[in-house]
């Protein structure tokens, strides 16, 4: 594995707001990454900075080993599909595709036309008159057909119905299988994209909270359900992410997996061990961080 994007100590401030706070992260070649986090976590700022649309207050960004800002050796190899992309005024989808074809060296026009039919993008409607979902489809098509070596999708599904979203996921995976490239997918629909992504970067308040392969995340947390005293026995001394008490039964999610001995003990105690979904883990990790900060504020 080698990194195509290297971010070191990246800080981005807007007056009194710190959007990114000393972020260091790497995005590996030919891997689909999920860039997750709450609204305002810094996802779009990170993507904008890596694609040279923004610039760091401090720190360094390298793409393909070079600084991307004003770098025509790097930029044609990057495509960034924004959540609310502004297109040329009065342009139709075909105009946007024609412009993209001129800009991206690996553009596949036949693929773009096929996707336009599949996503039912109207041919004669101006983009600004399209529905939000149709506009999102135009962005998704540009992102896929660009075949850019690094492609960012920032909340690409806005307004897309469930069928269109599934179509996007299917076409993304199929095209990635044929033409592997580095894809960074920012999304709030975490469970929907969980099966797509191989690596997760979780941002919270401008900091990296999690940066791990999805496979390793499976052992990152576990939920125990059963008698409250039995659950308490196995969760004692562990970091509790979430706890729900229901009479004599409790449901507790703790950080870290269980070893073989603990699993045996859980079976003896008749406890159910449930895997924690990626979405649950993200929610737990971000809310746990908030709780910690609140506690620190109240004690100081």
């Amino acid at each position: 594995m080698d990194a195509v994007i290297e971010v070191d100590g990246l800080t981005r401030r807007y007056r009194s707001t710190t959007a990114l706070d000393a972020v260091s992260v790497r995005f590996e070649r030919d891997v689909i990454h999920g860039l997750l986090g709450r609204n305002g976590a810094g996802k779009t700022t990170l993507m904008s900075t890596v694609t040279a649309q923004e610039w760091p207050t401090s720190g360094e960004v390298r793409v393909f080993g070079q600084h991307p800002h004003e770098n025509e050796q790097v930029l044609p190899r990057i495509c960034f599909v924004r959540e609310e992309q502004q297109y040329l005024d009065d342009a139709r989808a075909s105009h946007a595709f024609a412009a993209a074809a001129m800009a991206f060296p690996r553009w596949d026009q036949e693929f773009a036309e096929r996707l336009a039919v599949e996503f039912k993008v109207p041919e004669k409607t101006r983009i600004k008159k399209m529905s939000r979902g149709q506009r999102s489809a135009v962005g998704v098509i540009i992102g896929l057909a660009s075949r850019a070596e690094v492609t960012f999708f920032d909340e690409p599904y806005m307004g897309l119905d469930a069928v269109a979203r599934q179509l996007f996921y299917d076409r993304l995976l199929a095209d990635y299988a044929e033409h592997p490239r580095t894809i960074v997918l920012s999304s709030h629909l975490i469970d929907e994209i969980a099966h797509l992504i191989e690596h997760v970067v979780l941002l919270d308040e401008g900091r990296v909270v999690l940066d791990e392969p999805v496979e390793e995340l499976r052992d990152r947390a576990v939920t125990l359900v059963g008698r409250a005293d039995a659950v308490g026995e196995l969760t004692a001394g562990r970091t509790v992410l979430q706890h729900e008490g229901m009479g004599r039964t409790s449901r507790t999610t703790v950080l870290g997996g269980l070893d073989a001995g603990e699993r045996r003990r859980a079976a003896e105690l008749d406890l159910d061990l449930l895997p924690v979904s990626l979405q649950q883990l993200v929610v737990h990790l971000t809310s746990q961080r908030e709780r910690h900060e609140q506690q620190e504020r109240s004690t100081s």
Binding site: Q85, Q86, L88, D90, A99
Partner: protein
């Protein structure tokens, strides 16, 4: 299809990049402005419309005077309408193509070079159309109506081609100013935009007052009076070159 059950992949498209010229995509940035051709058609419509309107006013004025006669010709300023339209269209073009240009991963330098090429092309076309209109007016005595909107004495004194050249360079200057204004707004927001306009106005007023204090009003007007279409083209060209640099300075850190 989960990450682990994906089909085996073909070779990666992420290979060692072929070194390309940093200006290889300038033609693409140029064509971005011409995807829809409003920047050409709208100024042409304004040009023709303003000319027709000035002719109509000339005809009406002469009817009041009892029809075309050997009196003084009527000179109108309608030839400049298309200039202001071009300045507006340049600002509009900047504000509407720039965010999409960033989405297409153009560097700001390449985008600006493509934009400058479009402006130069349009300015040349405008100069040719303006010169041709001036020639038609000269040949037909203001289209038979004794009314001149392009063949103004100041502009055609050194020949039609000088009038066309002056029109082209002034058009280029105004487009670069319009584009710069839109980039100023995009980079710094509306408050700074108006503050800069205010400061520039104050600077111009102070410069005029200092000049008048030194050489008097007669000296100032005398300087303007001595200018020709060719020198106006030269001054406009100078401003255009400065504005091209200012535009790059503004766009370097402008965001979508």
């Amino acid at each position: 299809m989960s990450a682990e059950t994906r089909p085996s992949t073909t070779s990666s498209i992420t290979q060692q990049a072929v070194h390309r010229s940093p200006y290889a995509r300038v033609p693409a940035a140029f064509r971005l402005h011409l995807v829809n051709r409003q920047i050409i058609w709208i100024p042409l419509i304004v040009f023709g419309g303003a000319w027709a309107l000035s002719l109509g006013i000339g005809l009406w004025a002469q009817r009041l005077d009892g029809g075309p006669g050997p009196g003084d010709p009527v000179y109108t300023g309608s030839g400049q309408a298309a200039l202001w339209c071009l300045a507006f269209m340049a600002a509009y073009s900047g504000s509407h193509t720039f965010p999409f240009a960033l989405a297409l991963s153009f560097s700001r330098r390449v985008y600006l070079l493509g934009t400058l090429l479009v402006f130069v092309l349009i300015a040349i076309c405008y100069g040719i159309v303006f010169g041709a209109a001036a020639a038609v007016e000269q040949a037909t005595d203001g289209l038979g109506l004794h009314t001149y909107s392009h063949a103004l004495p100041f502009l055609v004194a050194d020949g039609i081609w000088v009038a066309g050249l002056a029109a082209a360079v002034v058009a280029l200057m105004l487009m670069l100013i319009g584009f710069g204004a839109s980039m100023l707004y995009r980079r710094f927001g509306v408050l700074v935009f108006w503050l800069v306009l205010l400061v520039l106005t104050v600077l111009i007023v102070v410069a005029v007052l200092l000049t008048v204090q030194t050489v008097g009003w007669d000296g100032l007007w005398g300087w303007f009076d001595r200018q020709t279409a060719l020198s106006a083209a030269g001054w406009s060209g100078l401003v255009a070159v400065v504005m091209a640099g200012v535009d790059y300075g503004l766009i370097r850190r402008a965001t979508a």
